[in-house]
């Protein structure tokens, strides 16, 4: 059994007295030393899936309506609040897109990490401070014993994101969820942060879920990939198999939409139309209004998840049959 197993996860949003599904029968697993990439356009349910795993879907508007999340053999959704908290704090950590909003501007970064460590582990202040300096040097902050006293605004975006990684690592999590961790960063800094995450994984064996809208980032960092479209996993496979086959029309469309740096094309093969909003009810395959391969069947029937190849699943009536 893998470290994290998400099965048939369902999340719904209540709006105007209705319960709208935002995440539907999403399944995947991640193991130690593995990076799962979740890719998709904005609003497809990536962040909600991450927050559900972290147990951060509080409140009444968004809630889990089905499925299971098993971590280290425990079913997180049936644990008591207290048991859950202790797992979330100690064994899982999350980093968010905008490091500035997750750091408190009025406290020194060191104090913020110390606070975080002492919430979850018994340590004196001095011990925790030493640990923080160690962590800051681990994430390659220059002069860590001085920078520990810096305020967030005194650091660059890339440094702040590295501080967030240090914070996330402060309690040696088994699972790290990074939601668009480099989207706000410059490409050269992005490369440093991604290299750093890969390096830390090699050293500590952390399982990573990396969420991104950038197929390039996913391709370079992940062992396996789940492509999401409007709340569902359209295609999931080992990274190599996924990009070799592009068995779901949406995956292929997404790749063709990307302007690349290594070759010239006159016109991009854009996917027509747009992602339907939550309120728009759709029958059949959610991608059918935009899909060149759609048939009558696609308009009426939601495609089941089918095993296209070993370990490569596709939610499409005609997997792999897309025109090259």
């Amino acid at each position: 059994m893998a470290l994290l197993e998400v099965q048939n996860l369902e999340i719904a949003v209540s709006a105007k007295g209705k319960l709208l599904p935002v995440v539907q029968s999403v399944s995947f697993s991640v193991d130690d030393n593995e990076t799962l990439g979740i890719v998709g356009e904005s609003g497809c349910g990536k962040s909600l899936t991450a927050l559900a795993i972290m147990g951060l879907l509080g409140g009444t508007t968004v809630r889990i309506t089905g499925g299971s999340i098993r971590f280290d053999g425990m079913d997180l959704l049936t644990l008591s609040e207290r048991e859950r908290r202790s797992i979330m704090g100690n064994q899982m950590a999350m980093i968010f897109q905008e490091p500035m909003t997750s750091l408190n501007p009025v406290y020194r970064i060191g104090d913020q990490i110390i606070e975080n460590i002492r919430q979850h582990q018994k340590m004196t202040k001095a011990q925790a401070r030493d640990r923080v300096v160690e962590l800051l040097s681990l994430v390659r902050i220059p002069n860590p014993s001085e920078r520990v006293d810096s305020f967030p605004h005194q650091m660059s975006g890339g440094q702040r994101q590295r501080v967030m990684i240090a914070m996330a690592l402060s309690c040696d999590p088994k699972l790290l969820i990074a939601d668009e961790p480099t989207t706000a960063l410059d490409v050269t800094v992005q490369k440093e942060v991604l290299d750093l995450m890969a390096d830390l994984q090699t050293r500590m064996g952390t399982a990573i879920i990396l969420i991104s809208h950038d197929l390039g980032v996913i391709s370079e960092t992940s062992n396996k990939v789940a492509v999401m479209y409007r709340g569902r996993v359209a295609e999931a496979a080992e990274t190599e198999s996924l990009f070799l086959e592009l068995a779901h029309p949406y995956t292929r469309g997404l790749l063709n939409s990307m302007p690349v740096v290594d070759s010239d094309v006159d016109w991009l093969e854009a996917i027509p139309g747009r992602v339907p909003t939550l309120e728009e009810e759709l029958t059949g395959c959610a991608f059918h209004p935009r899909c060149a391969s759609a048939t009558e069947l696609c308009l009426t029937t939601v495609p089941k998840e089918t095993e296209f190849k070993h370990g490569h699943s596709v939610q499409c009536h005609f997997p792999g049959k897309v025109a090259p």
């Binding site: 991604l194 370079e220 960092t221 939409s257 990307m258 302007p259």
Partner: protein, 270 residues
């Protein structure tokens, strides 16, 4: 090459900031520090570089959203950089700007027809609303929207649709030069591709010149004829697109290009 439509010579924009400390020194931020380039009629020049390198500042000084510190900017031979706003007014229609967040630049209280129509009257491009609505309908069709949307308000549209409206608002004035600042950066990949294709098509059909500001090298390769790479307020390398992407000379350009994560499709070797 024909006479350039736009020539920028030694453009500078320095910001003077007060130190946070009472007796601290004043700081000078050289956001743009001696930038020169030319754009020929019908040409797309991209300005690419990392956050804070001064790209937007170039755009803002050229559209008089901000006063430049020094330099020259010649539009059809006429130096407009230091003009007063009344002197610059006749050029406003000719030099138009498309922004990253079209929502911020569309007045939420106005219907689309007002947003697109009023500038037509201001610049004397039409005299009756009937005439204006005709132009608006044609323009909306051109950017791939149903003319009926002119009766609606900005909040009713998705990001991609709002950017189409933003483009329509600029193109309807038939400018000679469009400065697009991160015009597709906020859009999802599949929508970004549609809007990029649209910008490229409109640019080619109308033959306007464009200064395309972007941090995304893939986008830049797709849209430009020439590329200028900016770093810390200066252009470190400028050249034809293929020179920049296939044989980059400057170390910084090479670093940028090598940092971009690429999709490995497994078909590369085939």
């Amino acid at each position: 090459m024909s006479e350039p439509l736009l020539s920028i010579v030694d453009l500078k924009k320095h910001y003077h900031t007060k130190s946070l400390w009472p007796f601290g020194k004043k700081q000078v931020i050289k956001a743009v520090d001696g930038v020169s380039f030319e754009i020929a009629p019908g040409e797309v020049l991209s300005l690419v570089g990392e956050s804070g390198c001064g790209k937007s500042t170039v755009g803002r000084t050229l559209t008089h959203l901000e006063q430049a510190t020094s330099g020259h900017a010649l539009f059809e031979g006429q130096d407009f950089l230091m003009m007063s706003s009344s002197e610059f007014r006749p050029l406003r229609r000719e030099i138009q700007m498309i922004f990253q967040d079209p929502f911020a630049s569309l007045n939420p209280r106005l219907k689309i027809e007002q947003t697109l129509g009023e500038p037509l009257f201001i610049h004397g491009l039409c005299s009756t609303w009937e005439e204006a609505r005709n132009k608006i309908a044609i323009m909306l069709e051109t950017v791939g929207m149903d003319p009926m949307v002119m009766k609606r308000h900005p909040h009713e549209f998705s990001g991609g649709q709002r950017q189409r409206i933003g483009i329509a608002r600029v193109m309807i004035l038939k400018p000679k030069l469009v400065i697009a600042d991160e015009a597709v950066s906020a859009l999802d990949v599949s929508i970004q591709a549609q809007v990029l294709n649209l910008i490229k098509k409109l640019q080619q059909d109308s033959g306007i010149s464009m200064l395309f500001i972007s941090h995304d090298l893939g986008v830049v390769r797709h849209i430009s004829n020439r590329v200028a790479v900016m770093h810390e307020g200066k252009i470190v390398e400028i050249g034809l697109k293929n020179e920049i992407f296939e044989a980059p000379k400057h170390e910084y350009t090479r670093k940028l290009l090598s940092s971009i994560p690429r999709v490995k499709t497994g078909r590369e070797l085939v």
